[in-house]
Symmetry: C2
Subunit: 338 residues, 2 copies
DNA sequence: CTGTTAGCGCCTTCAG
DNA sequence: CTGAAGGCGCTAACAG
């Protein structure tokens, strides 16, 4: 039903390949301005739209890159997707987002699907690191450019975009120390098998020691990476912890968790930052617009987006990029009085 | 480089069409269990993945539906996308999300792109209603099932999912009246040419009259549909309005605006709900987790998702569905003292 | 510039 | 079950 290239060529009175080379702006087309106009006019008149399927099948390129994220409802990932999308738009590529919904099985399913799509490139924020070797490396060997976002060790043939949080974490804890905090708790998400979590925990705990916080019995709260889960976990903590044992500040593994925890605090009658201070990670756009704005360890989303796209589409990309995070102080942390 | 159907057939020692009919589970395949096993084994061994492009080109079906939303960073739309995605996963369809970024031009561009993709169906949350006739109807005539979400008049050949806000709005205003509010302001987004806005404004203003609010000089604040814009617009209002002239409650066209406005209120030293009450529309998941939880007029996202997908994929779908909203009262509204 | 031809990978039909 | 053949819509290389 939709018009085909053949129809355009016929209407314009030219050969099919002529129409093709004109519409695609190929430079080997010595077509006169007159015939070009005829072809464009014919295409416009018919409302011709080239069929991506046929074109991609024939060229072997789709001009589409895939993005696999754990949870699109997390503002961090929707912001990341937006930045990557912006960068791709500039390069005239399309983006297909796959949301694994924090589910390992779905992540595998998505990756299997990826093969069918024949994307030109793939950007992955993995929830399981097992997939790097089991799925991503094979994909790369088959010719799909792959870039992975996360603080895991570099894997050959896969691009990597990392964020060095060390300095920013250090800064954040130092600031808490200056504000008089002695006990700092951690709110963490994810499974033990996520290496990104393990390393982050380690860094947090190192910071606890370094800044002479009371780390004899560290307060670590675990939850899933959702608002609901963080809220429930933190409420549970507050219900089962005597006030003197409660840390006066919490560092949360991402902003979403911090928001959930702050809500639980509010429900328990605790005021932020008077009674409890919070720091998140990620610095989602929302954070500075919360009624009590959230301090956060900011990751440079736009730079990351540019870099990961470059890894996938550029000729000689840097295979391993590491950015540094910055600590952004806002209202959610305050001084200890007394 | 990736294995093709031919390779599988060869390895299994069968004809290509035999392999095809077996792998696709066609029932006209009288293949013996033995050969079936051989084929499956061969496919697995080679890591065969059918090429969607080739398959779709030949069958004319892509098993993909497109979703066009104004702003993926708005939690309302990411939640909507998630619900629609869930429903599509159940039906073994894929979802491609296009984010028009609140830009009319990009919306047009996306729609033009849509033709190329050859989606089996398209779900649209339009920002301009002009596209219904200019783009969507033609698309539908070409055979793509189209479902539009929004409170616009029904258009022939396009499915429609609407939400009747009247009763919930009425309820919300009635509640504000009971709480002693006399002046209620409106925070609205969008351009004048969006009919959805016009009708919503009208309903809001009708409600003002009905509940005997002071509507002589209604306080209506306009902004874009972003956190930043709402925040700026509301801050501007607070700076230029004498306290006695300020409404004691605001109804915002969506939750995101309410969050931005509440932040501006906080920065001006106003407490919610003591000094100012807020009601949003949409009831995004985040709303109940805000430090001061947000009252909102809730739209039944999951039902809407099911309905819109049904309109696109089912045999004899209901062409026009209208759900009703419900008012959810939370902490962001309070009584006027004095 | 034309017209033809081949091919991308798959599905489908039809005679054997 | 086999094997061949046609087609999906487009690109690309060829001789004229």
């Amino acid at each position: 039903m939709p018009p085909k290239l053949k129809d355009v060529a016929k209407l314009a009175g030219v050969a099919v390949n002529t129409a093709s080379s004109i519409l695609n702006g190929r430079k080997d087309s010595w077509a006169s301005v007159a015939t070009k106009d005829k072809v464009f006019a014919a295409a416009k008149k018919l409302g011709y739209t080239p069929d991506r399927l046929a074109r991609s099948l024939s060229t072997g390129k789709t001009r589409v890159v895939g993005l696999i994220v754990p949870n699109l409802s997390d503002p961090f990932f929707s912001a990341l997707a937006t930045e990557i999308g912006n960068e791709l738009i500039r390069r005239d590529y399309d983006l297909v987002i796959e949301d694994t919904r924090l589910d390992y099985q779905r992540e595998i399913l998505c990756l299997d699907q990826i093969n069918h799509w024949r994307f030109d490139g793939l950007i992955v924020v993995p929830i399981s690191l097992d997939i790097l070797n089991s799925h991503l490396v094979p994909l790369a060997k088959r010719g799909t450019a792959v870039s992975v976002l996360g603080n895991h060790p570099k894997v050959a043939s896969l691009g990597r975009i990392g964020v060095d949080l060390d300095q920013a974490i250090d800064e954040a804890f130092a600031r808490l120390a200056v504000l008089g905090h002695r006990r700092v708790g951690l709110l963490l998400h994810g499974q033990a098998r996520q290496q990104s979590k393990i390393s982050r925990v380690t860094k947090f705990e190192q910071a606890l020691y370094k800044h002479h916080f009371d780390a004899t019995k560290p307060c670590v709260v675990n939850c899933e990476s959702t608002l609901e889960s963080a809220h429930a976990a933190f409420r549970n903590l507050l219900e089962h912890t005597a006030a003197p044992d409660l840390p006066t500040a919490f560092v949360c593994m991402n902003d979403l968790l911090a928001i959930g925890a702050m809500r639980a605090a509010a429900e328990a009658g605790l005021a932020v930052p008077r009674d409890l201070s919070f720091i998140g990670v990620g610095n989602v756009p929302l954070s500075r617009f919360l009624p009590v704005s959230l301090s956060s360890i900011a990751e440079p989303l736009e730079k990351m987006a540019r870099a990961t796209v470059a890894q996938i589409l550029d000729e000689s990309p840097v295979e391993d990029v590491e950015f540094s995070a910055t600590f952004v102080e806002r209202e959610s942390i305050g001084a200890i009085n007394g």
